[in-house]
């Protein structure tokens, strides 16, 4: 006779998790973010811009600190900060003939330094800066869900609209330019959606760790797929497994959610890397 007790216990526990409001919010936000981060990571990997996620994410910290100083929504100021810094990295890197990595090396510490200065100037301690840095699923409000849905939806919709142009520029920007693609616009468009993706991920994954999910889903998918449509599908699947699995594990093991999600995503990457290598 099959022992169904463990299955029933498992289902009961899952129901327990979803009966908690903060876990409902966290799962909802995690699912939405998975789609957004997976699609953005597809382009981050193909454009070989992995380090830019780190730079833009840290620039969001300056924005959060500015919000704390001014006593306004840290999400709003983080959006402004991240979008401006992200585009400045692209602009200065190109116009200064520095390359993106050098521009990131300039703006990443600058934005962090400004964040530290803003905190130093602020006498308000009611903003959970640590939560923004490492993620805090308890802090996800209904308002955060709405912001994630609206901005995430905007990122996904605009990416679908410009998909073939983004693909062409990622593949061969010189030929794309000669054949009439608006390359400069697409560069800044991409940097903007990257910045928005970072900001909506701050509370669940955290500024320090979000860059991992801007790279790992796409990188892991690239190890086992050779067509862009399957690469995007696998990338989304990996992001969904990482966020939902990470949230469940973090709940049971009482671990920080962002760090658990990123660790699980990394393990999935190593698994796909191994599969990719054995296929060769």
């Amino acid at each position: 006779m099959i022992n169904v007790q463990p299955v029933i216990t498992g289902i009961k526990t899952m129901i327990d998790i979803f009966s908690l409001q903060f876990m409902q919010n966290a799962f909802l936000a995690g699912m939405m973010l998975s789609f957004v981060l997976a699609v953005v990571s597809f382009f981050v990997v193909l454009r070989r811009l992995s380090f830019i996620g780190v730079g833009v994410a840290h620039s969001a910290f300056g924005g959060v600190a500015l919000g704390a100083l001014l006593g306004i929504s840290p999400t709003l100021t983080a959006i402004g900060f991240a979008v401006v810094v992200s585009n400045a990295i692209g602009y200065i890197g190109k116009k200064g003939h520095l390359g993106t990595d050098t521009a990131i090396g300039i703006f990443f510490p600058l934005a962090m330094a400004m964040g530290v200065i803003f905190i130093g100037m602020s006498d308000q301690y009611n903003v959970d800066l640590f939560g923004y840095l490492f993620g805090n699923i308890l802090a996800i409000t209904r308002q955060d869900l709405i912001i994630t849905a609206v901005l995430g939806g905007l990122v996904l919709l605009s990416t679908v609209l410009f998909f073939k142009e983004l693909l062409f520029v990622a593949y061969d920007r010189e030929v794309a330019f000669v054949s009439g693609m608006p390359v400069a616009f697409l560069d800044h468009f991409f940097l903007t959606i990257l910045a928005l993706s970072v900001v909506i991920s701050m509370k669940i994954i955290g500024i320090i760790l979000v860059s991992a999910l801007l790279v790992i889903p796409g990188a892991a998918a690239s190890q086992i797929t050779h067509r862009y449509n399957s690469m995007i599908a696998v990338s989304i699947l990996i992001a969904l497994i990482s966020t939902s699995g990470g949230l469940i594990i973090s709940y049971y093991a009482d671990l920080p959610s962002g760090a658990t999600i990123v660790t699980l995503a990394s393990l999935i990457f190593f698994a796909t890397f191994t599969v990719g290598q054995t296929r060769k």
Partner: protein, 270 residues
Amino acid sequence: MKHTAIDTKNDKEPIVELNDVWVAYDGKWILKSIYFNCYPGEIFGIVGPNGGGKTTLLNVILGLVSPQKGSVQLFGSQPDKQSRLEVGYLPQISHADQSFPVTVLDVVLMGLYSRIGLFHRPDRNSKKIAMDLLSQINMADHATRPFAVLSGGQQQRVNIARAMASKPKLLVLDEPSTGVDSVAQEDFYELLAKFRNEQGISAIMVSHDIGVITSHADQVACLNVELHYHDEPDFCFSPDITKKVFGKDLKVIVHDDKCATCYHRHQDHD
């Protein structure tokens, strides 16, 4: 194998016209006093050593680099987005990420993107055009294969199909022989000649490979900062000019009908 241009220079306006073009980077002249015309139906080869300004010259023609002095005309106007739509561009084979997750059909479809327009996806008609082009280059059977698994020669054929997809009047080719073996090179240039003969398309190609260019171009010029322009390809390689362009120790091995190793291949083609 040499080809005769469909149209003669005398009854056509040049599609590319450079008059006394000078380009400098960091205070050093890369191109000096370049006079250059390319006519409809003409295959124009430019040879020269690495660093001689070949790619810069192509960038000037495409309007990607503005000269400090002189005038550039592409299809009768300054090179801009509109005139570039008449150009199919083939960069060096190593230019794009060779492991990019696209199929052969995807690559050819990219050549149609500017015509399809923003916010639209390639439709059935676009796919038909792309498949027709793949048939013309004998690559239709490879349409759904990943581009990354093709040989260098096959990739270059697909790249020319991509460049042809937008029905250009001029092909601009940067080192088309790089990474392609000699048999595939022959196939590639035959394809180029076919497009020229059937559609009257012009081509400007630059290479450091003297033999290939002289065998397949109607006009050849040698570039090493200055352009040595001649009507007869063979004349380009007078000892005086080759010494000026490539240096004194150059040995020229021309791959042509007299090439012993290719004798049988040419016999077969004849």
